[in-house]
């Protein structure tokens, strides 16, 4: 299949590689010439603009930082919609707000194209290994159409419902994630202050009603789970600023839906505090530093920027 691919960042680059590996012809565009060259070296064709990437494509994928980029990539003079043939489907794997998805889908529909939201979970590791989860929003037929393309990059391709529900699924999952991680951080820190061994406490929570991914897989207290970022100085993993972005999407979506999110809004402020202390690039489980150390350590580990 001829696929146009726009956005070759930490996630997009390995995803495009997996499309190549699956035998697709991939034409790539990114503002970063080095990122483009690396894909060309792997067998992709370089495109000079989103429009060029979309021309003659049988499918177009975008993987971009925010809704403003998607809008521009779609509708600029040299954008996707200027080049794409009628009837070709656009798959956007960026994490953006559901309202923008609907607006982009309407825009695409006016050009005779389907627009499917397919945000991912699984991180850069999953992108490289081709084991991402895709949360797909779109009609049943659009889902069936994009499924084989996405299968080259992920192992779970879940149909969430109509256009926009892929983003809703991702936002709601990450809302739970942001809250449970901070909640586990509070409880593990309280337990430490009250004198219980962290491994023992982790073991009890993980076999009891407090059980959750944030505790049994990604416990924020160093030493409880060997493979968790907490045990390697909060490096790698899912950055605090990325969690902050997703909680921002969640609280914004809640605002427009007139839906309260008490704990989500408070958790957002906790990650914001970490970010303001220069720890935005640490794994988000570093939020436990707000409870355990005094603030002077918040940016101590590597990864903590300016």
């Amino acid at each position: 299949m001829k696929i146009g691919f726009i956005g070759l960042g930490n996630m997009g680059a390995p995803m495009a590689r997996n499309l190549l590996k699956a035998g697709h012809a991939v034409r790539v565009f990114d503002l970063d010439a080095q990122a483009v060259q690396a894909l060309v070296d792997a067998g992709a064709q370089a495109a000079g603009s989103p429009k060029a990437a979309a021309t003659d494509a049988e499918c177009v994928m975008t993987m971009l930082p925010a809704a403003a980029h998607v809008r521009s990539v779609l509708s600029a003079d040299d954008g996707v919609l200027a080049g794409i043939a009628k009837g070709v489907t656009i798959i956007d794997s960026s994490t953006i707000d559901p309202a923008s998805v609907k607006a982009f889908a309407e825009l695409a529909a006016r050009h005779g194209n389907s627009f499917v939201d397919a945000p991912v979970s699984g991180g850069t590791g999953g992108a490289a290994a081709g084991t991402l989860t895709f949360m797909v929003g779109g009609s049943a037929s659009a889902y069936e159409e994009v499924k084989p393309v996405l299968a080259a990059m992920g192992k779970n391709i879940v149909h969430c419902g109509d256009t926009g529900t892929g983003q809703v699924a991702k936002i709601c999952n990450n809302l739970v994630l942001g809250i449970t991680m901070a909640g586990v951080a509070e409880a593990m820190s309280l337990g430490e202050a009250l004198g219980i061994d962290a491994k023992v406490l982790g073991g009890i929570i993980n076999t009891s009603t407090g059980r959750c991914w944030s505790s049994d897989t990604y416990n924020p207290m160093p030493g409880v789970i060997d493979s968790a970022p907490s045990t390697r100085g909060y490096t790698g993993g899912f950055g605090t600023d990325l969690m902050l972005k997703d909680l921002g999407l969640a609280t914004d979506a809640a605002r427009f839906a007139h839906q309260p999110v008490y704990l989500g809004a408070l958790a957002q402020q906790l990650y914001q505090t970490m970010s303001s202390k220069g720890a935005g690039r640490l794994d988000f489980s570093a939020v436990i530093k707000l409870y355990r150390d005094d603030g002077r350590d918040a940016s101590n580990s590597n990864g903590g920027g300016a």
Copy 2:
């Protein structure tokens, strides 16, 4: 073994029955004569006071609502310490604050007795089935001693560390639980408002990083998990007022430890709001009513008191 058992409420009564079933001789005391009679009918002996229950016992168990009751049962003129022989261990399965446990252990030590905290999880169902989890705080030798007794009532007997750490484990687990449940309630309600199917959203969260007991076993949105209280009108299960009690213990313990618990304190206010609306006896997952319905439904289901 001769066991004195004090406190025959919803939890204590089935626990004492399981001790009888295991072949122990159980002497029981409760202020409620009917509760005592029911145990006598099952083979127990009635005692006229905690002191009488403790006299000649080889082990004494207490299962009471709060620290004040434990204090009184121990140290009143006709209390346990007035009757118990030196060297006999007292096991307290009440859920109380760790500081009180330490005070009671010192009091018992002055009388030549060990005091072991062994709060439970598993609810009235687990108490009846003999499948409770006991979180045990005490010396390694005290743990070895009480383990066979507790094994008649539970299937997981976990040694948490020194005196008081059983309570710490329970409080910290339930702190996570109270936060994750309210977090899942926010996310499921937000998803509903944004138009995603609840079962689909639950399915995604339960196989992703938002995965937690509050979602995959006890999801607060009706219809997602068939066996959850949410699917039967929030009846049975773990009452809101009990969650409120445990979050109260957690935030109090945090206060004395000078340890912040932001999300825990906020979650406490959410359950408090439910309780103030008359929903204190509904399962704690009914907290989702704060997000989905207007308040008029908070006390609609049975179980909602005055």
Copy 3:
């Protein structure tokens, strides 16, 4: 002076009238023809577009609901910038985010115009009476230039600093306001539950360290302050949805500044809860209903929409 005035809503209309009363020649534009006609009846000239309103004007004022409207009114084909003469100052009294102000100021500068932010406080009453407070962001010379114009509509014209600081001042003040009102609501409700007379409690707070505008002028408990909206069923005053808009601006600005606003984010959720219950048009002091009544009363008073 010849003044172009765009935006004749609840605030803009009386402001434009006061400009007429002060002897200015005012050319008005609004999408609502009735609103335009009412001003024409009062002596204004009607303009067919923002461009027409700006043509030949010596000063242009805008008073619009949100940044998107300001952007469109400025830069559309028939917008202000298409008609305004070089060197003429644009005063925007809308309440919008400081980042948009800066973008608009740059846009205006490229056309040779100054753009001054001058959001107001004082409500529709102050707009009618000409007693508004204007918080002005811009250079010292721009401030001196706009001051006489604004003086026809307000009695306090405060220079806050450079472009955008007028919005910052308004957002920060209303952040304090939203928090103190909810805080007073909590305390007055707690006092009521604990048995103290509301007037006595109000009197003590108002002469003590809890003293604040939300208590001594606008107390949310009915009967404490005779002139407050709480004493007339929470009608009139400053609507919950307007407070929600301003807290949204504050938390958004905080997000972009990587600055935590714990209490602001939580207060926002409280007003959001009111809005989700249909009480968005009640005065914002109705937030006390979350604490005093069960939710069934949240939309009882008039003003509470669907």
Copy 4:
């Protein structure tokens, strides 16, 4: 009048001095012999026990750290009730929970004595100057009786209602205070981050709807109010740990009344964070350090303990 006075701490000592200055005969007791000697030097008589201080007294005053101390001073074998004559009124100026006040009043009533709660505001400065505010809970006749005694130590003697309402008034006022201070800290810090001059912002808030004691008298941003603790390194003033104690009383009272206090509970966690960083003895307005500095500065100024 012969007055027994128990509790000669930072507040009690200057209060007792003012009773002496007013011509009363004061018999004092404190566990700290130095504190007693200082009062004896000023003209008081030393008593060897609370009982001795109460014997022959026409009025007994207590000023103690917490309810447990009041209970012990009243009911110990050598306590006040063992020495006091029937009909003599006990005035307790400690800040304690209203439920304890009611219990103490019942205890006193059984001995034929009235117990009046009269907590104060005004700090050590007000205690020395004799300008405290007393919030009095008790019958109208008890109020009339204690008023002349209290007038020697304060200038506002306010009758709040029945027994316990003095404490309710104090707790509710300080709940508002704790919230508004943290709210002003958020807003001033946000304003600073967004580039407005702090003095300008303070001036706007103080003449607008955000006006409050925490801003116009005690602004937490250094340099805004010359006489505020923020301008002298957060020394003196009202300590963070004292605010924490009062917010603890407020949230506990709310728990027992089944009354939510969202912002109060969150504010409590903010002050708790300060205390856990070693800043418990700084003025409570130092909470702004959570927003402005990274944590390393929280305990920088003098006053930051352990």
